[in-house]
């Protein structure tokens, strides 16, 4: 991207002044090097989002921003229904409430090392991954609706995990306002055999070692220390979320003109929050959020079962569970006034600062844990929301490394077997049903997650707490 089109406000903040139909400026948080690497399409998409009705303050891009569908991936935008604000199916994306959950094992690297081969084989055997393998759970119509309104809380009631898990999940694991009747029969059909499945693409299940702690005080509150082993799960709302995204994209694109909305890109399909389509989508999207949280809850239970058979002293309690494809109603202070806004985060993590009432009480003084997924060969990070982040982009931060090359390009560079062997030599065990899938997800196909996280830290979006490196990885 040509930096000349942007005005530099500070070392890590770049402004795209309003032009044409833009109602607010675009603001990109990144180092100059990251800005230069970004696709030109990111700026076009940031500008398109800035033109949507009711948008507040600015259209934001996080340091990991890349070309997405309608919204950039790494895009954040807030809308006020009182000013004709919209909700956008494209702004949430297909994998509604995709997110990361991290569990603390209470064990050290030295304790798990002798068991890692059996652990990865057990996890790969018991947690369905990739296309064509459904879960063991089959939901009838009544249970499907109960899951869609109950989320992770529903899963705990069915014996998957503990009530204490819920306090460490955004929304206490149950997104209010979900409406199972707004979820089509096609979406339900796509999901009925998929609960407790990981999916494919960039989704994974990893056992990781805390290799560095940058903020010991916050790390202590989060209950992690150097040498600790954690388990992280990255997945979302599976076929149900994809189908809801598909259907509402179409109905919102079709109804945009009736609402007087000119779409610069059909993929930005949206509807006024207060319109019937907007309200239907809200009900369905929230149901998909519950589906994603229930899914990660069931996978957590399956992980615990595998550990119970091999390392029964593993604690596996939740550090936290974040979602990074969402639209949530939040209160933010604008021009000194509290406002109720619909905040879209597409490939961006909520990063509320210390003292926010939505953070679990025992973590509140540290700020919200922000879980950033990396690649199977590099690292993931734990960050914490800051007071500053509330001022920057409605309390939002990055979500991952972001791809540096397409899947097709990656296939020209790597062979799956070679990637698996190279990582094994470094002590990282990979299990996947697809060698091609592994090649497409090769660590080198992604941007350097450390650079992205450093930019988020230095921009004040979130604070670096700890670095996690993979020990084993189950990959879709």
């Amino acid at each position: 991207m040509d930096v000349k089109s942007l005005k530099r406000r500070s070392e890590f903040e770049w402004v795209l002044e309003p032009r044409g139909p833009m109602r607010v400026p675009g603001v990109l948080f990144a180092s100059e090097a990251l800005i230069r690497e970004m696709d030109d399409k990111v700026i076009e998409q940031v500008a398109n989002v800035a033109a949507l009705p009711g948008i507040q303050k600015a259209s934001y891009a996080m340091p990991d921003a890349h070309w997405g569908y309608g919204f950039p991936i790494g895009g954040v935008a807030a809308f006020d229904p009182a000013e004709g604000g919209v909700i956008s199916a494209g702004g949430v994306g297909f994998d509604i409430s995709c997110g990361v959950r991290t569990l603390r094992t209470g064990l050290t690297r030295a304790e798990v090392e002798p068991f890692k081969r059996e652990l990865v084989d057990g996890l790969y055997r018991d947690i369905p991954v990739g296309m064509g393998r459904g879960g063991k759970l089959h939901l009838d119509r009544k249970e499907m609706d109960a899951m869609l309104t109950g989320g992770a809380e529903w899963a705990v009631h069915r014996g998957y995990g503990y009530p204490s898990d819920l306090g460490r999940i955004e929304e206490h694991g149950n997104m209010q306002g979900a409406d199972a009747d707004e979820v089509s029969s096609h979406a339900k059909e796509r999901q009925k055999n998929e609960m407790g499945t990981l999916g494919s693409g960039n989704h994974y299940l990893e056992m990781q070692e805390v290799v560095a702690v940058y903020d010991p005080a916050i790390a202590e509150i989060y209950g992690i220390a150097e040498g600790d082993v954690v388990v992280s799960i990255h997945c979302g709302s599976r076929g149900l979320g994809h189908q809801i995204g598909t259907e509402f994209l179409k109905s919102m694109a079709a109804s945009a003109a009736q609402h007087g909305i000119k779409l610069p890109d059909r993929q930005l399909a949206c509807a006024p929050i207060d319109s019937p389509v907007g309200q239907s989508y809200l009900g369905a999207m929230r149901a998909a959020m519950n589906c994603a949280m229930a899914n990660r809850q069931i996978i957590t239970h399956l992980v615990r079962e595998v550990f119970a058979g091999l390392l029964p002293r593993a604690a596996l309690d939740l550090l936290y569970d974040v979602s990074h494809n969402t639209c949530k109603v939040e209160e933010h202070i604008l021009d000194g006034r509290p406002r109720r806004l619909f905040v879209h985060r597409k490939g961006a993590t909520r990063a509320f600062g210390p003292g926010h009432p939505d953070i679990p009480e025992d973590l509140r003084e540290a700020g919200q844990p922000v879980l950033i997924g990396g690649t199977m060969g590099t690292a993931s990070y734990v960050l914490a929301g800051t007071r500053e982040s509330m001022q920057h982009a409605f309390g939002s931060a990055v979500h991952g490394a972001g791809r540096a090359m397409s899947r097709k390009q990656a296939l020209k560079h790597w062979r799956g077997r070679q990637v698996v062997d190279d990582l094994a030599e470094k002590g990282v065990l990979i299990r996947s049903p697809s060698q091609r899938g592994v090649a497409e997800e090769a660590p080198g196909a992604y941007k350097d997650v450390s650079v992205v996280v450093d930019a988020a830290h230095r921009a004040g979006l979130a604070r670096k707490v700890a670095r996690l490196e993979p020990i084993v990885c189950v990959k879709g």
């Binding site: 064509g132 494919s200 179409k250 993929q267 049903p433 697809s434 899938g437």
Partner: protein, 125 residues
């Protein structure tokens, strides 16, 4: 990931785009046309019809756990009728690299050219 089909007719371009869809997930040569599934959709806008067609296939791929290798499509006045032949996913044999979430409106284009038709869009994986 982008899919693009070329054909002498609009229906032919849609068949080729559907083959590209399967190739996003697996090596096409490994899929045998053993089972037939009939698909119908209706949409006057040819570009939106392409998205509907690919999404109908994605729905069948998920719910039946099948991969498709051969297609016969007819399109008349915005009405698409098709048969798709494929087989159930065999994870060992097919090793699907990704699941396909949905067809998007990104880079969506259906156009008639001097030598036939072209149909393309980006699919989310």
């Amino acid at each position: 990931m982008g899919v693009r089909g070329y054909g002498e007719t609009l229906a032919g371009a849609f068949e080729q785009a559907a083959l590209a869809l399967t190739a996003v997930a697996v090596d096409l040569a490994l899929v045998e046309p053993l089972e037939k599934v009939d698909i119908a959709c209706e949409e006057p806008d040819a570009e939106l019809l392409l998205v509907d067609w690919l999404n109908a296939l994605i729905y069948e791929m998920w719910t039946r756990r099948v991969l498709f290798a051969r297609f016969a499509v007819s399109i008349e006045g915005g009405r698409l009728r098709a048969s798709a032949w494929g087989q159930r996913v065999d994870v060992e044999k097919h090793q699907p690299a990704v699941e396909i979430k949905g067809a998007t409106y990104t880079e969506l284009k259906v156009e008639q050219r001097a030598d036939g038709w072209m149909a393309q869009c980006v699919v989310d994986v």
